[in-house]
Structure formats: structure tokens, C-alpha cells
Symmetry: C2
Subunit: 363 residues, 2 copies
């Protein structure tokens, strides 16, 4: 078991929730104890709700199983996936914090090239608290990191940057490959530690992985919907991809940034490529049409909030992707349900006095 050489200072301790989707006992938290213990955890239990999930002692957490989700959301619970890690987005919805970090339960603490444990959460927070630079590429990567800056030829008017909405972290050991690549390269491991954080330029889409991801709920939360996946759906393993496409289009529209790169976590276990292929294969076809759709999607000037953007996007999904498969019509409807449920649980502050609270009972 790795032990941190010095007690880390927990940044934003009261402003960040850690969301973990799981179907098993959370022994993996032992390794994260030095980093996660000061924070509040939101555990979203997938699968059989009668199963008891053990959480190591000392962690502060709330746990929701399917019965809780159904009770809290009522008929709107239909927008939350079952038997798929997409269920994690329920945790984003019930959080009351400004920031979310979400991590998979097969991810462990990685080491940097000098052999020190990487405090992934701390790096995500640094990424989120420093600006992004989506309008022009800086060849020395994140100009706000210590020892770096904007290079010659970078316009001074763009050096203030824009608020960062998303911090996308990477994985050492098992790379996040699709089933065909897993099948072809079963032994490939990611051993390359790339010491960089960079902004994904405006207008460029990326494959967002939900394994090691942080974001600013206030800036982008309502767009972090992980879609309809798993039980009863024709597709799985595209939950984070779906969220990533929507999030990128909306952050570009609203003028926020998305960073990728550091921090790394240690991804311990490759999922079964045969099972994955079954979940993914429709997505492998569909993404060839979905991605051009998102690449050309534009939002109207009237869409000035994430919610409005998301509703507008849902209409475009229904219209443009609906013809591919009835699934997308269902998904577009679920996107609307998601926003309704989000707004129900997250009463905007200016309405708080006039509208009765309809939130989650503390567990």
C-alpha cells in the first residue's frame, strides 16, 4: 500500500464531491485514503439494490442505490441508466457542491516518473482553478503552469483565458481502448507519462473518458448527462463519450474551456473485450454519424445557460440523429427529462425563496 510522504492539503474540501459508481465493496478507497478522506463521497450503487456495499471506515459518504434513485426522481428516474456506469450522473445531480470529481473503482493511485504518488484530485483542482486557452494553441502547453508561459506570437488579448469547466485526466497501465483495439492489442499498456495539461481547442471534439474526470458543476453540470446505456438499451460504454460531445459543443458555445492531460491514475483492470464489443458495436457504427453531427452543431444566441443549450441540443439530436435509430429519439427525450430532474433538485438560487425545496434527504 502506498503511503503519501507528506499529508496533502485538501484543496476545496467543502466545495467538491467525489462521485463513484460501483457494484462492489469499495476496498480501492484504502489506497486513496490520504487524498480522498477529507472529502465527501457520493456513491452510486449500480445493479442489485439489496446488495450491501462496504465502504472502508473513516470516509464521509452518502450512497444511493436504484431504489433511492426511483424514490427521489419518481418517473423521471427513467433518464438514469441501470447496469451501466452511466448511472454515475445521478451523483452529479444530487450533489450540492460546485465541483465534482468522478473516478472508477478499478483506478488506483499512479506514480509520477520520480516515484511519488500522484495526488490526482489536487491536479484536477489546479486544472479547474486555472484558466483555459481554447482560442489559440500554446506550444508549451498550459501557460499557467509553473515554469511555463505563453510563447512568442501568442496574442496578448487572449492571455487571460476563459474559465475551465472540465479537467479530463488520463490513465497509466490499461489504456482506454475500444473492444476492437483491446482484441488486437491485448498486451498494450500505457507506460508513457506525458507531463502536460492542455486546452482542447474550440471547435475540436475529443473522446471524454469518465474514469478520471473533474468538472465545475456550476459551469457545466447540467450537460454532464451520461445518456441511456446498459439495461434495456441497445448500447453501452458510450456514456462518457456522449457527455463529452455535448459538453464540448456547449462549453465552446458558452465560452468555457476543457483541459486534458495530467493527472494520471493507475487503471488496473481491462474490462472483457468480448463483453465490450457487444456493448459497443452499435456505437462504432453510430459514432461515424454522431461525430459529424456534433462537429457541425451550432447553438443559438438565445441559449445562454447550460440548460437552454442542452434542451436546444436535444431537439437537434431528435431531428438529426432520430432517423438513424429510434434509440436517439428516446435519448433526446431522456435529455429533456434529465434537465427537468436536474432543475427540480437544483433550484436556482434566485428562485429558492419562492419555490418549495424538493431536494434529496440526507442519508
Amino acid at each position: 500500500m502506498a503511503v503519501a510522504s507528506h499529508k496533502p492539503i485538501p484543496l476545496l474540501k467543502d466545495e467538491l464531491d467525489i462521485v463513484i459508481p460501483t457494484i462492489r465493496n469499495l476496498d480501492f478507497l484504502e489506497m486513496w485514503r490520504p487524498f480522498f478522506e477529507p472529502y465527501h463521497l457520493i456513491i452510486v450503487q449500480d445493479g442489485d439494490p439489496s446488495k450491501v456495499i462496504k465502504v472502508p471506515e473513516g470516509f464521509d459518504y452518502e450512497l444511493y442505490n436504484r431504489n433511492d434513485i426511483n424514490r427521489i426522481l419518481g418517473p423521471k428516474a427513467s433518464c438514469i441508466s441501470f447496469k451501466d456506469s452511466a448511472c454515475r450522473c445521478f451523483g452529479y445531480m444530487v450533489s450540492k457542491k460546485k465541483y465534482i470529481y468522478t473516478i472508477d473503482d478499478d483506478c488506483f493511485v499512479a506514480k509520477d516518473p520520480s516515484g511519488h504518488d500522484i495526488n490526482a484530485l489536487e491536479q484536477h483542482i489546479k486544472n479547474l482553478l486555472s484558466a483555459s486557452t481554447p482560442h489559440f494553441f500554446n506550444t508549451l502547453y498550459d501557460p499557467y503552469r509553473e515554469g511555463a508561459d505563453f510563447v512568442r506570437g501568442y496574442p496578448f488579448s487572449l492571455r487571460e483565458g476563459v474559465p475551465t469547466a472540465v479537467s479530463h485526466g488520463l490513465w497509466l497501465n490499461i489504456p482506454d481502448y475500444d473492444a476492437p483495439t483491446q482484441l488486437v492489442k491485448p498486451r498494450e499498456r500505457n507506460t508513457r507519462y506525458v507531463d502536460a495539461v492542455l486546452t482542447i481547442p474550440k471547435g475540436t471534439l475529443f473522446p471524454m473518458c469518465g474514469m478520471n474526470l473533474a468538472f465545475d458543476r456550476e459551469l457545466i453540470g447540467p450537460a454532464m448527462y451520461f445518456g441511456l446505456m446498459g439495461d434495456g438499451q441497445p448500447i453501452g460504454r458510450y456514456d462518457d463519450m456522449w457527455a463529452g460531445w455535448c459538453v464540448k459543443v456547449i462549453t465552446d458555445h458558452l465560452g468555457f474551456g476543457v483541459k486534458t492531460g495530467l493527472p494520471y491514475i493507475w487503471h488496473s483492470k481491462a474490462s472483457n473485450p468480448f463483453v465490450n464489443l457487444k456493448k459497443e458495436y452499435k456505437g462504432i457504427f453510430w459514432q461515424e454519424e454522431i461525430i459529424p453531427f456534433f462537429q457541425s452543431a451550432t447553438l443559438s444566441k438565445d441559449s445562454t445557460t447550460v440548460q437552454k443549450c442542452y434542451i436546444e441540443l436535444s431537439k437537434q439530436v431528435k431531428e438529426k440523429l432520430g432517423p438513424i435509430d429510434p434509440y436517439f429519439t428516446k435519448l433526446a427525450d431522456a435529455m429533456v427529462t434529465w434537465i427537468e430532474a436536474w432543475d427540480e433538485l437544483n433550484t436556482p438560487s434566485e428562485e429558492k425563496s419562492s419555490k418549495p425545496a424538493n431536494g434529496v434527504a440526507a442519508k
Copy 2:
């Protein structure tokens, strides 16, 4: 003096020229001997043509001074800058090879984190010979590097990539900062070795530095014009930036890629920030208008060759940037002269038989 631990295999030995602009003896080549000696060098001597530049023994080179440039290009020599490293682009024009590597004479061999000498040229060649991925961002960086691939969610239809036209390398030690940043951070050194190569996405501009740069002359050569800088011009130190903006717009239009990242060279000597400020200050204003111009520049379908693209761009420069300062009208004209001179020295192969050769006498 660093010595390579094993004799490197010189890739593309007969297909690549190394272009070096200089005003002094080329002692810096001693350190590069294990890597550069098998290649042909094109030395462009700036400043006083009567000065004799010493080149260490054993290197195969041709050298051009101002008198040579004037003799070869006649009145068209006006498009080649004097007393500015922009003169290097004359070397691109007289080369007969498919690939160019250009490097400044204050750049030395850097070491990777394991202490080995970096064969910068070899890495550039690897970058140029593998495809680029400008249409979608791959979070594990260059998918064609050993140990890497496309991640989950990357469309399969885009995995073939596009031909790489440019490989932009970076610098350890002295970073490529503008004068204001040099003045504010005189002691900042780049010590961060980022082990990555990545494609700059389509539609995104970047500050291209000419210090450590390789490109495919056949794909993009005629757009690698370093503009009018230095002697008699109101601006300096924007030669490579100008080329970079034009190149990026044209590669995006023609469907080629631009990579940045590895390899690093060791940049030994910061130029004088006071002198630099004098050269740069108009550029610092102007780039605030130039960059939006290039960001919104589009080329017509009829522009199917680099030359046609460049001529079309020169017209847009004259029309849209001319009003900023008469300099841009002059620059737009020089862009046309450059293409005329390029075509004179580089007779397209299908015309070779019908048109008399009008090239450079071997020196």
C-alpha cells in the same frame, strides 16, 4: 561535447536538406556532427556578404550570401529579407529535396530525461512520415507512436489520418518568449520535457517557431515564406509566425496535418529583450488583428495547389490587412513575388522538358 552512444542511422539521407541561417562561424555543428554529417546543408549567410563563414570540416554544404541571392533571383530577390533570420526561406526555395529541416545556430543537442542525446532530426522525420489527426483529438496524443493508439470513441473512419506537412519541435532551456515576457521573466528556463507529439487540430492556429522546424517541401514548401522582416522593414521576429499562420490555413484547406511537440533541442542563448522589443512592438499590436484575420480566412475550392492557395491568401492580405499599415500591401506583393521566384527555381516536373532550366548553379 556529447558523443552519440551508437551511430545513428541517417533516415532519408538523400531526401532532406538542413537549412541554417547564420551570421557567424558554424562551430555549433560540431555538437550535431553525429546526426547532421550524413546530410546536405544549405547555409544562408545573412548580413555582410564579404565575411567568410567557417563551416567545420566534413560537412557537405552549399552556402549562399546576399550577393548570391541577388544574382540568382535578380529583382525578385526583394522578397528575401536581409538582416533577419527570415532569409532562411531562400534555402527552402533552392533545395531540390522533398524534406527540409531548419535549425538556428544557437541550438544544441538536448538530452532526454534518461540522459541520452536527442536525435532531433530523426524524431522530426518520424513525425513527418507518420500521419496527422487534425479532425478529432486523441487524448493519448500521437496514436501512431509506439505504445499508443486511438482511444475508445475515436471514429474508425478517421484513423487513417492525413499526410503530415509540418513537424514543429520545441526547446529546452531558453523558451521562445516575446520581449515583454523575456523582460518580466528573465530567469525562466524550460525544464519540462513533455514526452508527446500531437496534431494541432483543424481550424486552430498556433505560434510556429522557426528554430527547430521540419516540413515536407512537396506538400507545403511554397507556403513556407518567412515574409519581409529586418532591414528596411518595420518589424522583425514575426517571420516564422507569419509562415505559421499561412501554413496552417493552407494545410487545413488542403487536408494536411501539422504536428508539434517532440523533438526538443537545447536553446542556449536568449536574444536581447530590448532589441527584440524594438523589432516586435508593431507585431504585438498587429497580431491582434492579423490572428482574427487568419482565423476567419477561407480559401476557395479552386485553390487546389499550395501556390494557388498562397496567391489567394496574398490577395486577402492586401485587402483585409492593407488598411492596417502600408507594410501589409508590400508584404502581399512580396508573397506573390515569392511564389513567382519559387516556381522559377522549382519547375514543375511535367513542364521540365518544355521549359529551359533556370535553377541554381551548384556551388
